[in-house]
Symmetry: C2
Subunit: 416 residues, 2 copies
Amino acid sequence: MSAIAASARGMTPADLDAADPLAFARERFAIPEGVIYLDGNSLGALPRATAARLADVIAAEWGEDLITSWNKHDWIGAPARVGAKIAPLIGAAADEVIVADSVSVNLFKLLAGALQLRPGRRVILSEPSSFPTDLYMAQGLASMGAAELRLASDIPAALAAGRDGRQGKDVAVVLLSHVHYKSAAVHDMAAITAAAHAAGALMLWDLSHSVGALPLDLAGAGADMAVGCGYKYLNGGPGAPAFAYLARRHQAAFASPLSGWMGHAAPFAFNDAYAPAPGIARLLCGTPPILSLAALEVGVDLIAELGVDRLAAKSRALSDLFLAAVADIPGLVLASPTGVRGSHLAFRHPQAYAICQALIARGVIGDFRDPDILRFGFAPAYLRFADVAAAAAMLAEIVATGAWDRPEFHARQAVT
Amino acid sequence: MSAIAASARGMTPADLDAADPLAFARERFAIPEGVIYLDGNSLGALPRATAARLADVIAAEWGEDLITSWNKHDWIGAPARVGAKIAPLIGAAADEVIVADSVSVNLFKLLAGALQLRPGRRVILSEPSSFPTDLYMAQGLASMGAAELRLASDIPAALAAGRDGRQGKDVAVVLLSHVHYKSAAVHDMAAITAAAHAAGALMLWDLSHSVGALPLDLAGAGADMAVGCGYKYLNGGPGAPAFAYLARRHQAAFASPLSGWMGHAAPFAFNDAYAPAPGIARLLCGTPPILSLAALEVGVDLIAELGVDRLAAKSRALSDLFLAAVADIPGLVLASPTGVRGSHLAFRHPQAYAICQALIARGVIGDFRDPDILRFGFAPAYLRFADVAAAAAMLAEIVATGAWDRPEFHARQAVT
């Protein structure tokens, strides 16, 4: 909060950088010259340590020790080891988190397991305009006849209403993103978890836009389940494996329908019958992707070292600075809360797509989200206050001069 | 077959290496000094090109171009691009194969999709002692009430019997490994696929122990679906992503219950409702693991360059040489076919575990499979005939001298 206070006292961006206790961290990342990277909420930047670590995993572990690395370099333990390192970032115990698969696949496991833990209830309650894969995975589960997806904008009200007048008694599990991927709006984790529990439902949080950016307390909120992304604020690399959290109290009764051999109690006994591993390991499915896991571990180690509280405070100060600097840009409308929010900001503008491309052409990398959202992330580990001020000035100039209105800035890319 | 014929004419291992048209390929791999690696069927060796490729993906693509790499370096196209390169190795068309997730997860997608393509049928027919994860994933699907797993040792007979006297009319899909992971026994792909079809069932082949080692013709056999492993003969690295094959004729009607955003028709439209991509891309689920995919691509490119026919012929010659050399070892009983088989050999021995460890201590890396199986792989891309002869001699010496009978060779490791 000191940086915010300083900003309020009228310090320049350079002053703020000079006073920033996290300023040293930028050197721990490989940030290209001339780029102001405001998309760490989509793909985190490269930690400098990652290249050397991967080179070692490839040459020394895979190349030299080959298959024996599963034991010798504890490849087999990597999903639980990295999960245990993520645990303190999200307010969980070490044995409640494991790294596996993707966010999407982990959602399927947890949603299916939640339905099985709440027999007689078949509703997955979520909200419209959630991150699409969350809804799609619930729809996939529903397509198997196992569930029904219900969307409601007011989750506590939907829980209280219930189909037969009693508190949402058909809801097995509530699935919500803690921080919204577009707006950065934040749900009150403790309050909604309590509402879910009051209705007899389980609570599953998607922490993809929270983990590594905001302090989180799953245990304090009493949350049952969570998933999160490895490639955003954890800087684990493109398509990094995801993590899953399952509160210890549910583990013994939990059954994943994706019951692959790595979640077996004795994977190398090669029995015909599945028997789940005793704890969080039952959330594993196939063979873990060791190269991607090694990269994720570097990112997690770095974020843990920097500390989520410091990171969250700096991110807030960065985004407050940006917000103040773009307040007068014509046509730009804030689509994020001014109060509690995640680490990014969203703005509406009729020319959002072309403006985003024009910014990228100038080295300011944000992203666009349909239909008219400009999204800027303020990953605090590697951004300077001066970067944010410069990006805001560039945005103002592009809008003021109409520099976005060139054919190449309107051409849609495969990935926006 | 020329190498086999040469072997029959009494050439020495050195002669065979001198005459080997694939001898050059060993230099394309990083094989440690003093190691004879007979476990490429479990984890393929490291292609020398992989380290440089990964360094480039990390530093230049992720590090320099950051999020723009999804377009600029076609990360978004990697699953389909690498799938298209695997396609000719398995007798498929380029648009029938995609790289995604793990073998286990892909099995779930395809089995669930197969059941949905065969309404009114709920049986997954497989055989006992299949690779465990194949059976476990079918059990997981069955646990959702969507299916029933039936095991039969004689698949054609089970298909012909049927529960009501007609040809297996309750069987939706037959799931078999083409090459058995322990014995290396090979199923007749065309004959069993035809039997499945005659019973109105779909055929799903697990090619994990076949792809890159044997010529395969999914199209010729009329196979409907397949999965395969990236980290064995394709040398994609530990836990490399897997692939899935779905015959073009089934794609439009196929629905994956793991309906993640990357399988959506318009992933970046961020709609609330799932709509599958038109073709094979509907088998994607979460964000693809780009680092692991890049490593897999190097391995696939290399195997494609070397050619499966040549590789298969050399592998057969290597394993025939080994078989002849160990024929007189007391207590060692062949557990693989002498005729048609995959690229590895299995032997039973009461002291298999300790013998395996004693071999590893001498630099001969094979593996052990419960309860008493010694398994040796003959990955032809990097093994020399001289290696195989030396390994056989080492095995003979260890058994003859009882050198396996030391406490450290009996201590079980986490991964066997």
